[in-house]
């Protein structure tokens, strides 16, 4: 069985690496989805029973959209592994806002497949060949060809992967540092979760002095703390042209909350880069592929509210009616449901609690459906979870 997975992962990884970044034709995606669904039903008895109850079997599958999704919160309840559990290489965990909150777990069978998914996608969106040489606000004629892409050093507002082995973001940024940044850069959140202010100041000052554009990447809440520290010290940077910022995740419970335009304006002002050089990464521990609301280079002058997240070719995202779960046409808000082929070793179809709507080549995220104020004077599960009571 493990040989089957090894072959599948190898084939998938090769397909990811060879991809130009343009969407795959439907039939190509469908073939992969069929192969992975067959594999997952065969190797994951829980998912197989689940799919069976939903009345879907690989032999009767007509279209990949019928592949049964699991809710993202299922990753909190039980391990979802398609393959030999003994061969799990790493368990990534979602961050909890309190110590006792039940965290989602993604058991990853093959970190190589994870790398194969994240590298081409990051390269396309953050390390495109124009970045680091020209202003990213100017369109790059060759943004699709990235073989000689800029090797921006990465300064990560995240803990070092060796300090945070459960963090998928740290893992991702670690791979980026090693593969895409040519080993240049570093991690500026300590083991204790504190920003290494002096280290980051030194690194930014050095990049500025040398005129080396950099990629500053981290979580939104860490950026807020970083901005506060800059403001408190009266410091600001004028980073070399071509520098980028990648921010990800929300603020909830970990920093004050900023509206996106204000957040980007502050980031832009404090680092001397245009707002167009700030990219949002939308990803989740439960998925080995990510979405970027770029490439910024291809969309100069695009207003923030018009940005959209673009899936890599091996992910398809549908928007489902929140009540009936039937698919919605472009422009209509609903729940985002992803089919990520890189999740071959767990479950590839995931219904999120995120609201968004589909556009021509991707989707726009409107926010989290859960976490909104529930109507009622009864305490809802979310409140209990955030209060750390269950």
């Amino acid at each position: 069985m493990s040989d089957v997975f090894a072959r599948l992962a190898r084939d998938l990884g090769a397909a990811f690496q060879e991809s130009s970044g343009d969407p795959w034709p439907d039939e190509v995606f469908a073939l992969w989805a069929q192969r992975i669904f067959e594999y997952q039903v065969e190797t994951n008895p829980v998912y197989a029973a689940f799919a069976h109850k939903r009345g879907v079997t690989p032999s009767a599958l007509v279209h990949w959209t019928e592949i049964p999704w699991v809710p993202s919160s299922a990753f909190k309840a039980l391990p979802l592994v398609s393959g030999d559990v003994a061969r799990v290489q790493r368990v990534f965990r979602t961050s909890g806002t309190t110590g006792s909150e039940r965290r989602g777990e993604h058991h990853v069978l093959d970190l190589g497949l994870y790398r194969d998914s994240l590298i081409p996608n990051m390269r396309r969106h953050l390390y495109w060949s124009g970045a680091g040489r020209d202003s990213p606000t100017e369109p790059a004629a060759d943004s699709g060809s990235h073989k000689d892409g800029a090797r921006l050093p990465i300064l990560a507002l995240a803990p070092d992967p060796s300090d945070a082995p459960e963090s998928s973001l740290s893992f991702m940024l670690g791979v980026a540092l090693e593969v895409l940044s040519g080993g240049r850069g570093g991690f500026f959140i300590t083991r204790d979760g504190v920003i290494d202010t002096r280290g980051l100041d030194d690194a930014l000052a050095e990049a500025t002095a040398l005129g080396t554009p950099i990629l500053l990447a981290g979580t939104a809440f860490a950026f807020v703390h970083w901005l506060d520290s800059l403001a408190a010290g009266g410091r600001a940077y004028d980073l070399p042209s071509g520098s980028l910022i990648m921010e990800t995740g929300g603020f909830k419970g970990r920093s004050r909350v900023l509206e996106r335009p204000d957040f980007y304006a502050s980031l832009s002002k404090a680092h001397g880069i245009p707002a167009a050089a700030i990219v949002n990464e939308y990803g989740m521990t439960e998925m080995l592929s990510q979405f970027y609301d770029g490439p910024v280079a291809a969309t100069p002058g695009l207003a923030l509210e018009d940005r959209r997240h673009v899936p890599p070719p091996w992910v398809r995202t549908r928007v489902l009616d929140p009540i009936t779960l039937s698919p919605l046409p472009l422009g209509e808000p609903g729940l985002l449901c992803h089919v990520d082929l890189a999740n071959a070793g767990s479950v590839m179809a995931i219904l999120t609690g995120d609201l968004g709507f589909a556009v021509e080549d991707g989707f726009r995220v409107l926010g989290r459906a859960q976490g909104a104020e529930p109507r009622g004077c009864s305490l809802a599960m979310d409140d209990l979870l955030s209060g750390g009571m269950v």
């Binding site: 008895p45 829980v46 998912y47 197989a48 029973a49 689940f50 109850k53 999704w69 699991v70 809710p71 993202s72 919160s73 299922a74 909190k76 309840a77 039980l78 979802l80 929140p322 009540i323 779960l325 808000p333 609903g334 729940l335 219904l351 609690g353 609201l355 989290r368 459906a369 859960q370 976490g371 909104a372 104020e373 529930p374 109507r375 009622g376 004077c377 009864s378 305490l379 809802a380 599960m381 979310d382 409140d383 209990l384 979870l385 209060g387 009571m389 269950v390």
Partner: protein
């Protein structure tokens, strides 16, 4: 068809009777596809005038005998219970688009709430809490050497939750019973009943409605709110932890603050009620208790502990409960859920289905008709609901050990619907009370606590009134 509801009913300052809001600037919030709520934006001058007019009305209200207050309120309650009265019809028409409940639910809620606002029930409340309600009209002898009188606050500020329709009317009525003028900010999902109630009071008893101002404003950002927090002698807040905290810190230390923060409730079914004869009946009242208010009430059960060893096993009872939930869905259809509410249910259902698929005893029951969901759990561990008719059935080896599993929610526990043999109830209630519960009842009564209940553990009028002792001076002490 979309409607716009004016979430405002305030006394007219010059005429001293209820009329249109004097303020010219209004804002609008869309509350559903079918309804918007319009509310006045109070300037500080207008806020000042409004509070002055309430205070003047309060002086006149102080002279009205309490039994007349009770009768006046009761007349409005009777109208809400009268199916031929236009005010009841208006309430039932307006609740679905504004509060998101079904029409059938609206009717249940208006009936259930108004029943407890009738003169008979309110008289009983006064009697049970104060002994002699006359203490609200003047000094009455209490015990040797002492007369007492009770007075309500010169102004009470009520901040409702965006929640169960009618809850803020109950809060208003409690204050009127102790002759306190009321400034009520209802929750966005509860604007209809307080406004209609205040309007009807204006038709029935102007002296009462003059002392009532109902007006919505978005919390935290209003001149009226700041001024009212300064002036009110009692502030009553309903809502989530954040809303309550925000009110609490802004209430002056010299004012009383009464918080009804979010709570949760559970059910317990003993093996003697799990006979073939009783089990379906208990399941049916449990289903109604879960469905009522679409489980958004603090009295709504999140989870039901079912004792093992009865003729009907917990797993079988879960199935009976599911059938009952389906029946109740037909009688009182579910609310139309928001995207976030629906998403929460899909997440919970899907996760439960996977747990079911993993081969353990977990079972999940639901139907595409409505959002009701029953989840049979495997371990005896409290499971909170995402609300909107999602209930867990938790097998318990013995009801005596259930209380121990509620430790994590002790501070939030409120009602326990306990279905067990009469002779077991006192002992079980003893344990549940130690676990934080403030009310032990049946499924049938769970949604409708009587007016004199100890709401979250305290007397409802006691917190509003101030007692004044008049001590008799013994002739000997004067040296006569």
């Amino acid at each position: 068809m979309t409607i716009t509801f004016d979430a405002c009913c305030v006394p007219h300052p010059s005429r001293g009777s209820t009329g249109p809001a004097p303020t010219p600037v209004w804002d609008t919030i869309e509350v559903s596809e079918d309804a918007s709520v319009r509310y006045p934006v109070w300037t500080s001058d207008e806020a000042e005038r409004l509070l002055e007019s309430l205070s003047g009305a309060g002086e006149r209200l102080a002279d009205v005998p309490v039994l007349e207050v009770v009768e006046g309120i009761g007349r409005v309650a009777d109208r809400l219970l009268d199916s031929s009265d236009p005010i009841r019809r208006e309430a039932i028409d307006l609740l679905p688009p504004t509060a998101g409940v079904s029409r059938e639910m609206a009717s249940e809620i208006v009936t259930g709430m108004a029943r407890d606002w009738t003169a008979g029930r309110l008289t009983e409340l006064l009697g049970r809490e104060l002994g002699d309600p006359g203490v609200l009209d003047g000094f009455r002898p209490l015990d040797a050497g002492r007369m007492v009188r009770a007075r309500g606050p010169l102004l009470s500020l009520h901040v409702g939750a965006g929640s169960v329709p009618g809850v803020s009317v109950t809060s208003m009525i409690r204050a009127l019973l102790v002759k306190s003028p009321v400034l009520l900010k209802p929750g966005l999902g509860d604007v209809v009943l307080p406004v209609l109630f205040a309007k009807a009071l204006g038709e029935e008893v102007p002296v009462l409605s003059d002392a009532v101002a109902v007006t919505y404003w978005p919390g935290g950002a209003s001149d009226l709110e700041s001024l009212a927090l300064e002036r009110a002698e009692v502030v009553i807040g309903y809502g989530g932890d954040e809303a309550i905290t925000s009110l609490r810190v802004r209430t002056p230390v010299s004012s009383r603050f009464i918080a009804y923060h979010h709570r949760l409730s559970v059910g317990l079914v003993g093996r003697e009620k799990l006979t073939v004869e009783h089990a379906p009946r208990v399941a049916r009242s449990a289903a109604r208790a879960v469905a009522m208010f679409d489980q958004r009430g603090c009295v709504s059960p999140h989870a039901i502990y079912v004792e093992e060893g009865g003729a009907v096993a917990p797993g079988e009872w879960a199935e009976v409960l599911a059938a009952a939930m389906a029946e109740v869905e037909v009688e009182i259809p579910s609310a139309r859920l928001t995207a976030s509410e629906a998403s929460a249910v899909h997440q919970v259902r899907g996760t439960a289905e996977l747990r079911e698929a993993s081969g353990g005893p977990v079972r999940v029951f639901w139907s595409n008709e409505g959002f009701w969901t029953v989840i049979l759990e495997e371990e005896m561990r409290f499971a909170a609901s995402c609300l909107n008719r999602v209930v867990s059935v938790i097998p318990a080896p013995d009801l005596n050990v259930v209380a121990a599993s509620l430790g994590g929610v002790r501070r939030y526990l409120q009602t326990v619907a306990l279905e067990a043999a009469e002779d077991r109830r006192p002992m079980l209630a003893e344990r549940l009370s130690a676990a934080g519960a403030t009310r032990v009842t049946s499924f049938e009564m769970a949604p409708w606590p009587p007016p004199w209940w100890h709401h979250d553990g305290a007397s409802t009028l006691a917190g509003l009134i101030r007692w004044i002792d008049l001590e008799t001076i013994h002739p000997a002490a004067e040296g006569a």
